[in-house]
Structures are given as C-alpha cells and as structure tokens.
Symmetry: C2
Subunit: 369 residues, 2 copies
C-alpha cells in the first residue's frame, strides 16, 4: 500500500457541532477532484461515496493502485463527463482515507482516537463536506449524486442546503435505514468486536489489527450487495478448481473462495473502527424522523431538480424504499424523475457497467446543464 501522506486535504477551521453534541474544529477533510472548475463556477458536481468507498472516484486509486470505484461513470466523455464537469469527492468524516476519523491522532495524547472518536451521522458528514464549497468558492453546485450511503448524503445535503445544488441524483438508497439493514450492519460490528485483536478499539496503538473480524463483516455485507439470482447465475454450485467435493472445510465452492477473497483484500484497505463508525451513521439515518414523520417537509424549500434511480434486484435498498423518496418529493411539489433499472446484479448495480444506468445519468446531467 502506498503512503497516505500525499493525499489532498483541507483543514476545516470552522467548528462543527455534531449531532452527538460534541464540537469538532481544525479537522482534516481529504478530497480529490477531476476535470476543471470553469470561470462561472457552475459546473461542479459533488459525489458522495458509499460505506467502503473513498474520494478516489475514478482513474487509479493512488493508495490501492486499483481503479476508482466509479470508473465506469466518471471520466472524460463518460456519464459524468470530466471534460465538461468538475467532480469533487471527499472522504467522509469517520472514514480512513485521510479525513478526520477514528484512526486520526488525538492531539491531546498523541494516540489514535479509536472508539474515543465521536459517533457521527450522515448529517455530520454532509455538514463537514459543505466546507468544500467555500474552499472552492462555489456558490451553487451543478449536481450532487451518490449511491447507497452516498444517496443518503444526497438527500441530507438538499434537506440541509436547499439552494446549494441545481440537481440531485440519489441512487439505490433510502430515507430511513430499515431494520434488516441495521441488522446486517450490527452483524458486521459484532464480528469486528468479537475479534480479540480489536481490543476495545485500541488495536492501532497496540500494533494489532482485527483482520479476521473485519473480513467476516465484509463477507456479510458482500452477500447483501448481490442478488440471489445473480449469485446463482455467477456461481451456482460451481466447484473451485476441482471435479468433486473435498469433504473438508476448505473452500469447495467458488462462492466460498470468492467471499474469502473479498474479505481478505478488504482488510488491506480499510480500518475496522471506521467500519463501526460509518455503519453506525447509516443505521442512525432517518430523514423521515428528522422531519417528524413527514419526509416531504425535508424538501419543501428546495428548487433542486431530482432524479431517483433504483435497481430491480436490489434487496438492500429496494425500489419500494426509493419510491418513498419519490412520493415525498412529489408531494412537496419538487421537480423529480425516477427510473427503476432492470438488473440481476443486486445493490452492486450502481457500481457496475450497466448501459441503461450510465445513459440515464449522462442524459439527465447533459439535459439540465
């Protein structure tokens, strides 16, 4: 892994009162940009990343040396055309790619925060990232978009700053995290905390890493990102490089080695405590409750033009939950479009090369600019 020292960041001086009651200031916010901000400063798009994403949206991620997580969507002449638009993406606070998070050093004792880091929310993440508009002297964004937890940030951003973006694209998300999704996140947290190397969150100062627990958490999440049908079509009961069952606990089936591999590569790039904090933020997300049960109130002051995208086989953030956002926007009188895209790839669809999805984003962004 390459060093994180050269990661671009701003130090946010302005105090931010978090939902938990604590106030933070002078904290780092790591970001990346693609394309150029034009003279009118009206071509900026703020992309929000998902649970395990980061600011390296496209091109080569300099830390992992792998392609950016939205390589299919963002780049020259792609759906988000960086020849035309200026794309900004920040690592969320609570994250582990340079922004203020549990692996940051606490200046009070020169140790990593660990679980002394404050519990943060989607609202806190969005309020922190708002500072990037001031940094780039952008009066109004052209668009905000993101999938999964990125989509939640889109909704929260417009609710908090109703006149700060011309358009918004929430993708494969929800306005209120469901019991099943809380359950899967809790499962991941319990897997991490069950690892004896987690040490109540103090592993970094002890030079340990709860890799096994984090890998199990990732495996659990990974299953939820794929559809039953997609898994069956891709893996079915195919065996791993052999003709017959092994009669052991080695990986007999391809799906087993696939999951083990996903778990093992994840621990190289992600911090276990960040996984706890970010899943917690997702679980706490309930924009409906924030507006006392009336989600349309969240959007009643906005002139932002929305386009909502869901995927047929996404059972984590199903179309029904995306439609609740649509209904709220309609009832608040907002300008909103919606598409449910046919895909067998489950929740992961928003990260994949799905022609109809890429075309939809491109057309919406081109048509309204």
């Amino acid at each position: 892994m390459n060093t994180k020292e050269n990661i671009k960041k701003i130090i946010v001086k302005k105090p931010l009162k978090l939902d938990c009651g604590k106030t933070i200031s002078d904290y780092p916010l790591a970001y990346e940009t693609y394309g150029k901000l034009n003279e009118k400063k009206d071509n900026a798009i703020l992309v929000f990343h998902a649970l395990t994403g980061d600011q390296f949206v496209t091109g080569k991620n300099p830390i992992t040396n792998k392609p950016g997580w939205w390589n299919y969507l963002v780049g020259p002449n792609k759906a988000i055309n960086t020849n035309k638009f200026f794309v900004i993406c920040a690592n969320v606070i609570g994250g582990c790619m340079g922004s203020f998070g549990p692996s940051s050093i606490n200046p009070e004792n020169n140790e990593t925060y660990g679980t002394n880091f404050p519990v943060i929310t989607i609202n806190d993440m969005v309020n922190a990232q708002y500072n990037l508009l001031e940094f780039f002297e952008i009066e109004k964004l052209y668009s905000v978009l993101g999938g999964s937890m990125g989509g939640m940030q889109v909704l929260q951003f417009v609710a908090n700053f109703p006149n700060k973006t011309k358009t918004a694209i929430p993708i494969a998300c929800t306005a209120s995290h469901s019991a099943q999704n809380i359950a899967f996140n809790e499962l991941g947290r319990q897997a991490i905390m069950a690892d004896t190397k987690w040490k109540d969150g103090n592993y970094l100062k002890l030079n340990l890493s709860p890799d096994k627990g984090l890998a199990v958490a990732r495996m659990a999440a990974h299953i939820t990102y794929l559809s039953k049908k997609g898994l069956q079509e891709k893996f079915g009961r195919k065996l791993q490089e052999k003709d017959d069952l092994n009669f052991s606990f080695d990986a007999d089936f391809q799906i087993e080695s696939y999951l083990r591999y996903q778990g093992s590569i994840f621990v190289d790039r992600f911090d276990a405590n960040s996984y706890l904090y970010i899943t917690r933020a997702m679980d706490y997300f309930d924009l409906t409750k924030e507006y006392k049960g009336n989600l349309s109130k969240a959007f009643e002051k906005t002139k932002t033009k929305f386009f909502i995208i869901s995927f047929t086989s996404d059972w984590l953030y199903p179309t029904s939950e995306n439609k609740e956002i649509l209904i709220a926007l309609n009832s608040s009188g907002a300008d909103v479009g919606f598409i449910e895209i046919l895909s067998d790839k489950g929740h992961d669809s928003f990260l994949l090369d799905i022609t109809e999805f890429l075309k939809t984003v491109k057309n919406f962004l081109e048509a309204n600019y």
Copy 2:
C-alpha cells in the same frame, strides 16, 4: 444446562459407509418419541430436524428447559396428533444432542473428535436414521416430515427408501442448496473459525469455547430466517428502552439487542464444530446432481404421497425452489399436493403458530391415514 446422560439413544452396530468414503459403526444415535406405536405399527411418523434443532420436538426440552422446537405442531390433538400417531425424531449425526458428532469422544485417543470427525452429508444423516425403523421394527412409516434441512432429509429419505413411507411432507426446503445459502453458511463458518478460541476445532480438549464466533454465526443465520417486511413490522427503528439515540456502540435499536440475545442464548445449547459440520452437509446437498440433473429420477420408484409446503416471505428457501421439487414429482408421476402459505414471518414460519400451516399438515395427515 441439564446433563445429557439421560438422553435416549441406540448404538448403531451396522457399519455405515459415509459419502466421504469413511465407514462408521458402533455409533450413538440419540432420539425421542411421542405418542404410542400401535400394534399394526402403521402410525409412525419420522420427523427430521433443521440445522440447530434436536430430537426434542415437543413438550419441554430436558436439556434446555425450553419448549420443544415444534411445540405448535406436535402433541395431543395438535396438527401431528400424538394421541393417534407415534412420532420419532433423532438428533442428526454431526449434531451435539447425543448423536455421533464432533464433540463425541474418539475411543482411539479418548479425546473429542473435533475436526477429525468425518465430513457428513444429508444422505449420511438419513441413512443413519434409517436404523430407527429396524430398532422399532417398523416395516413402513406413515409419514416423514421436516422443514428447512429437515425437508432436505425428507427428500433424501424417499429417494433412498422409496417404499418405506406412505406419505412425505417437505417444508420450506430445496433439492439443491443455492449459492446464496452456501454464502451465508460459509459466513457463519468463517465467523466461528475466526474466533481465536476455536483452536482449529480443538477447543473442547483445551476447555475453551468459541462463543463469540458462534454467536456471530447465529446472528447471521437469524437475519436470514426473518423477512425484510417482518423485521420492519416487528422492530422497525424502535429504540431499546430509551427515548433517543445513544451515540455509542451499545444496542440502540431493539433489533440489535434481539440479535445479540439470539446469539448469546444459542452458544449455551450448541456446539461450534457441529455448526460447521451441519452447515457443510446442507451446502453439499444437491439431490438434483445426485440424479445427474434429473430430479424426477429421484422419485420415479416411489409410491409415497407428497405434500409440499412453502411460505410467501421465505427468501432463504423461496417458493420457486419448493416448486422445482413439485415439478420433479409431477414429472415422475408421483402423487403430490402443494401449498404456498401467506406469511410475513420469513423462513421461520415453519416453526410458528400459523393457523393455515398447522391446518394443512393436520388435514393431510388425517385424510391419508
């Protein structure tokens, strides 16, 4: 927990060649019975339990002091009327309630087998239980039934012994374990193996117990037993005994404490290695492949009358997979009925007090006796 010394068991002397190639003999098979075998010996019903079940189908489980797992279904004047029928249930081999399993003592070295226990299959489980027919001198059972892994045993039993039961009721099961189900089982196994107290399966002889890993495995499985809608209706975003969020990693939501509780009580009654072996057996189950891709061949010799039951919100063993069994039975010319029961309770429905389900079983059993 009470002692397991008084558990009823037979010692099976006859050698059993397992699918893995090894042969076992002189092994214990623990069982329980309810009701009385009549003189004609034509009223016996063999019930097969699911992954974490045991032989204590109804009444009070003498080991856990909790009600039997099928209390709603089995008992005097219940759906399986023990005033009329003689119900037999055995703990599967590989299990931990008295039958031959990884926590059994290996006479060669006086230590528990641990992962030296042979990997077993659903076929092996069923072949072992067949010895109970000889033990009770039953020529032909009246019925075999079971849900989930119990249903797989029903299918395998009829395939292996086409003339040994008059009727059969496979419930909420499959003829071929899906990639998604293998994935969730593998997740559970990895959680157990990630626990440093698992010690490559040798924890019992070291007086250790991988409770944390086993609890995580149970939590993962438990989520899959419930439906998204059922979870939302039962728990939603309800908070645990407080008015507002805690901003910590304690259990804020009721669903979190529910899952933690399910994990914690499970480790008191179940052996981690048994969890590995039994999930492995489920993953290996592919009756379709055993009959070279033609499932109807599995049933072509049988006169057994079938009734298949599935539940609308069961996403682990969905109606579509139960219907594949129906299609195979139909195409083999078997006598078969089918019902999909409306329920929001997910896979767990087969264990619950659902009137239509209980009535269906009762009516089928009464009508054909």
